[in-house]
C-alpha cells in the first residue's frame, strides 16, 4: 500500500471525539475491526485506549515488536504502544489514571461480562459506561481510500465469478469446487477468503448456510456459490447460481423469482431510504411469486473491514432475527457512501435454494454495483 492511500488514522481518532457521550473522557476499544479502523493494528489480540489527547495500543509480548516495526513503517497509527508485563486490568488501570477525570466508555457489544467485571475490580477509581456502535457509526460511511480497497476486493471476486464454469461439472464434489474457488482467489492476490466459501448443491442448496461436503454434483441440481476475497483488509462478497444439466421448471421459476427480487431490492437502494424498505421490496416480489415462506434471512448487510457489519437490511419489526446479533436500529437509514450486499434468497425443500448477491455503494440517486459478473443461471 503506497503512502497515497494510507488510511487517515489521526482524522478517524479525531472524529471519535467530535461528539462523545456526556462526561466520558476515554474509550476502551475492544472490537478487532474497530481497533484496526482506528489504528491499523490487526493482530489477534489487543485493546485500544483512546482519549481526546492520547491513544494507546495495548498488546502482549507476542505483538510488542511487530507493533513497533509496523508503526515505524507507517503501517500503524502514531499511537503509544503499551505492552503487558502483568495483567491487562493492571495496565489498563495505570493508563486510565493518565486520561481526564470523567468515566470510561467500553463497547457493550464487544466486551464480555467477565472482562468488564475484571476491569471494574481493578480500575476502582473510574466508572465504566456502556457505549454502543460508537465506532461502527463512523465506519458505516466509507472513505475514499476504503472505497478503493472495497472496489478492488469486489473486482477480484467478480473475476472469479466469471470463471465458475471451469470448475463446475457433474460428478465433482462441493468441496473440490470450493477449493478451486479459494485457489483462484489466492492466485488473484487476495489475502484470504472473507469467509468459508459456500458451494451447496441439490438438497444442500436449500440450506442457506451449508458447508461444502463431499456430495457430487448431479444432473438437475441447483448450486449456490457464495464467496469473496479480502484485499488490503476489505471484503468482497458475492453469490451466483448454477444448474447442472437441465433444472426443473420449478427450480427455474424459483431462480427467476429471486432474480426479480434482487432487481427490486437494488432499485430500492438510495440515500435516505430506510433499510427495511429495501428488504420489503425483495420480500414483496418473492411473496408475489408464492415464495413468501421460503425467505430465511435478511436481504443484505453492510460490508467493509468485516464481511457482516452495519447497516443490516432486514425487516422493520426485528430487533434482531439472528442469534447473537445486536439491534442496529440507530443505523436504519441508508446514506451515500455506505457499502452493502443485496442478497435476497428463497429456499424450498425438494426444489432447492436460490440466492443472488451483489455488493453496492449507496449514492444519492441510487447505488453503484461493485460486483459485475453475469447473474444468469449458469448451466453446466
Amino acid at each position: 500500500m503506497g503512502d497515497f492511500d494510507r488510511p487517515d488514522w489521526s482524522g478517524r481518532l479525531r472524529r471519535v471525539w467530535r461528539t462523545p457521550p456526556a462526561d466520558v473522557s476515554a474509550l476502551v476499544v475492544s472490537s478487532p475491526a474497530n481497533i484496526k479502523y482506528l489504528s491499523g493494528f490487526d493482530g489477534s489480540a489487543g485493546l485500544l485506549l483512546t482519549s481526546p489527547d492520547r491513544t494507546w495500543l495495548l498488546v502482549d509480548g507476542r505483538y510488542d515488536r511487530s507493533a513497533r516495526l509496523s508503526r515505524a513503517a507507517g503501517q500503524l497509527a502514531d499511537v503509544e504502544i503499551a505492552t503487558l508485563t502483568g495483567s491487562v486490568e493492571r495496565l489498563l488501570s495505570t493508563l486510565i489514571s493518565d486520561v481526564g477525570s470523567g468515566s470510561v466508555g467500553f463497547e457493550a457489544h464487544h466486551v464480555t461480562v467477565a472482562t468488564l467485571r475484571s476491569w471494574e475490580r481493578t480500575c476502582v477509581e473510574r466508572t465504566f459506561v456502556a457505549t454502543a456502535n460508537w465506532i461502527e457509526r463512523l465506519r458505516i460511511i466509507k472513505e475514499r481510500t476504503e472505497l478503493i480497497a472495497i472496489r478492488r476486493a469486489c473486482a477480484v471476486t467478480s473475476d472469479i465469478a466469471r470463471e465458475l464454469g471451469r470448475w463446475l461439472r457433474e460428478g465433482r464434489t462441493e468441496r473440490e469446487i470450493a477449493w478451486d474457488i479459494d485457489e483462484a482467489m489466492r492466485r488473484a492476490g487476495v489475502t484470504r477468503p472473507a469467509f468459508e466459501t459456500i458451494v451447496a448443491s441439490g438438497p444442500n442448496s436449500a440450506l442457506p448456510h451449508a458447508r461444502p461436503t463431499d456430495r457430487q454434483l448431479q444432473r438437475g441440481d441447483l448450486v449456490v456459490l457464495d464467496f469473496g476475497g479480502v484485499l488490503d483488509g476489505y471484503c468482497g462478497d458475492l453469490t451466483r447460481m448454477a444448474g447442472v444439466g437441465e433444472v426443473t421448471a420449478e427450480a427455474r421459476g424459483l431462480f427467476e423469482a429471486v432474480r426479480a427480487a434482487q432487481v427490486a431490492a437494488l432499485a430500492a437502494v438510495r440515500a435516505e431510504a430506510p433499510v427495511f424498505e429495501v428488504d420489503a421490496a425483495a420480500r414483496r416480489v418473492l411473496s408475489t411469486h408464492g415464495f413468501g415462506d421460503a425467505i430465511l434471512h435478511a436481504t443484505g448487510h453492510g460490508l467493509g473491514l468485516e464481511v457482516h457489519e452495519a447497516p443490516r437490511l432486514g425487516r422493520r419489526s426485528e430487533s434482531s432475527d439472528r442469534v447473537g446479533e445486536p439491534s442496529e436500529r440507530e443505523m436504519d437509514r441508508l446514506a451515500a457512501g455506505m457499502v452493502c450486499t443485496i442478497e435476497p434468497g428463497a429456499y424450498v425443500e425438494g426444489v432447492g435454494g436460490v440466492r443472488l448477491e451483489d455488493d453496492v455503494v449507496v449514492t444519492d440517486e441510487g447505488c453503484e454495483v461493485l460486483t459485475e459478473a453475469p447473474r444468469d443461471l449458469l448451466l453446466v
Copy 2:
C-alpha cells in the same frame, strides 16, 4: 463418522447437571465450542438452553432445516429445536418459563454486556447468574472418542511436517509455502486449517505471530513453520523449524536452547503437576542459555475442539498475560486425559526466532506425544 464413535451427548448433558451451582435451574450456553460439545451443533450462530430435564437448541431461520436434518441423521444430540420467529430475547424468555424456578446461569466469558442486558430486560421474572468455565471444566478431560479424533488430527498434521522439505527452498515466498502446507492438509482430508498457517522467515521469525508475507527465503534464514489441521472437529497444532543453507552459530545456539527447553517441559508433564511448573521448566532452560528475555509467550495451551483452550501452561503469577484471555486458575493442575501443546519459543532481534511445538496427552506417569515428526533443524 460411524455410530461407534458418535459423541455421548446425553452423557455430557447429564454431567452438566451433576454439581450445578446452588439454586441454578438452567444454563444458557453461548460459546460455540461448548454448544458443539454438548449438542453437536456447529453452525455459526445458536444458543443452547439446558436444564436437568430439557435442553433446547435455539437457531434462526438459516439453520432450522439443517439442524432438523442433522438431528434425524444422528449428527445432533436429541435436543428440542426452537427456531426464532421474533427476537432471541423473547424466545429465550418463553423457554425459560418452562424450566425450574431457580436462577438462570450464563457464561460470563462468552456473553457480552449488551447481550446480558437485553436478556435481563426481556426475561424479567428470572435472575441471571454469571458462571465461569462450567462446560470448559468438562471439556478439559478428553473422552475416548475425542482422543481418537485428536490422534487423527495430530497424525495428519505430523505427516505434513515430514514433507516440509519439499516446499522450502531459497527464493520461495512465505505465502507460497503456507499455501503448499494448506493444500497438503486439504489433500490429506482435513476439514480446514485449525488457524492461519504461519511461515515466518529471517527477521519475521522473531515475531511470534507473524502472518505469511511475500518475503522470499534467503540463505541464513531461520524459518518457523506452525500449522495444524482440523479433523472431525478436533485440532492438531505443530511447529517445526528450518534453516536455509547454513545458519549462524548464534541461530544454531538458539535452536538448541529451545530444543532443550522443550525436552525439559515435556519431562515436567504428568498428572497432578501444576501447569506453571511445566512453563517454569522451559523458562529455566532458556534462562540458563541466556535467553530469559527472549521468551514472549506461555509454554503451551490445551487443545481440542478449539485450538486454544484450557488448560493454559503459563507463569504462576499471571492472572492473564494475554489481552482478552480470562484467568484459568481453577484449572491449574494437569490431569490424565488432558491434551495440550508444549511449545517453548525464544525470539531475538537480529538472530531470529525459534519455536518447537508438539501435542501431548497427559498420563499418570508423564505424557504421550501425539505429533511424531523429526524435530531437528531442517536444513534446506
